[in-house]
């Protein structure tokens, strides 16, 4: 089952869900809006071994234009997590309507992870984004079965983090 906005609020108050800077204004009927952190990484190419290189930038107050075809790694402003529920992080429909991918196919947030989530950002059209804008939403889903954490990789990071797969 997917939690309603009221249930998300209740589970935050009971500490079963952690959302930093929690605000009732960002509650939706069945999700919570998260904001874009100011840290951004831009894919700039590969090194001689074929490893991907990302350059770090800070999104200025006056906004930053994302170019189509480029790949960016952003981060949620909020620390988001739960030891009780599984999560799905997606973009807001208002951003999807501009052709802005907020996750490239990997929307699942594992139960027990709690951190600032890296966002895989891909723009279909040139688009200007701003720090701390509402950019996506997270929903919370009941588990079926006993929860065991089988290890954490990206949940140990709070800044935009590229792949660590080798």
């Amino acid at each position: 089952m997917i939690l309603t906005g009221n249930e998300i609020k209740k589970q935050v108050s009971e500490s079963n869900i952690k959302i930093s800077d929690f605000s009732n204004e960002r509650i939706n009927p069945n999700s919570y809006n998260y904001r874009l952190g100011k840290e951004l990484k831009i894919f700039t190419g590969t090194d001689s071994l074929g490893n991907q290189i990302f350059e770090e930038v800070t999104i200025p107050e006056e906004g930053f234009v994302l170019e189509p075809g480029a790949m960016y790694l952003g981060v949620t402003e909020e620390v988001i997590g739960s030891s009780k529920y599984a999560m799905s992080l997606i973009g807001r429909s208002s951003l999807g309507r501009y052709g802005l991918f907020l996750q490239v196919s990997a929307n699942l947030g594992h139960t027990t992870s709690c951190h600032r989530w890296t966002l895989e950002i891909y723009a279909c059209k040139k688009i200007k984004v701003y720090p701390l804008m509402n950019i996506g939403q997270v929903s919370f889903w009941d588990n079926y079965g006993e929860v065991t954490c089988f290890g954490k990789t990206y949940a140990n990071f709070n800044l935009p983090t590229e792949t660590v797969e080798k």
Binding site: M1, L3, N28, P29, S31, Y98, K128
Partner: protein
């Protein structure tokens, strides 16, 4: 929990799910197939600014189909009016659509409970693809919520036809 096709059909009879027009042969095992409506939108500005209202043109899909080039992004819509005050809908491409390299949404599959209207499709082509009005392009699933429900009263309620982004309203306080 996800509803089965039989349950979707039953809840339409009980008026707990809205799909109009409804056709029994669009029910699938776990979803309902959605048809592509006849209108689409194209943004006309070079750079979209999420703080400003967008400029766009509304067009009609020709009878003999619309060719999207790889990299093209347009907004289409479902022919059907869909929604529920009791279940959470999720939008997906039909697998056949995805196999043509066409996304029907780029990030936002989740529909708010209580949102009733045409669904706007975020159509992004990764290959050249020809689309036709009335084609079965997407599907909607319905999921059981947990907790007290407050119905959607947002900016896209009662949508008819493709709806451009209104993210600039987020910056107005």
């Amino acid at each position: 929990m996800i509803l089965t096709g039989n349950k979707i059909s039953e809840e339409i009879s009980n008026e707990r799910i809205c799909i109009e027009p409804f056709q029994m042969d669009q029910i699938t095992t776990n979803s309902y197939d959605l048809r592509l409506g006849n209108k689409y939108l194209v943004y006309t500005q070079d750079v979209i600014d999420t703080k400003q209202p967008p400029t766009y043109e509304e067009k009609e899909i020709p009878d003999d189909g619309l060719v999207m080039k790889a990299g093209d992004f347009i907004l289409g819509h479902s022919e059907e009016i869909i929604g529920s005050n009791h279940y959470v809908p999720l939008i997906h491409a039909k697998s056949g659509t995805a196999r043509m390299g066409l996304f029907v949404h780029v990030t936002a599959d989740l529909i708010d409970i209580g949102s009733i209207g045409n669904s706007t499709f975020q159509l992004y082509a990764t290959l050249p693809v020809k689309i036709f009005k009335g084609m079965l392009i997407a599907q909607v699933t319905f999921w059981v919520p947990e907790g007290k429900i407050d119905l959607y009263q947002g900016k896209y309620q009662h949508s008819r036809g493709p709806q451009p982004s209104r993210t600039y309203l987020d910056h107005v306080t």
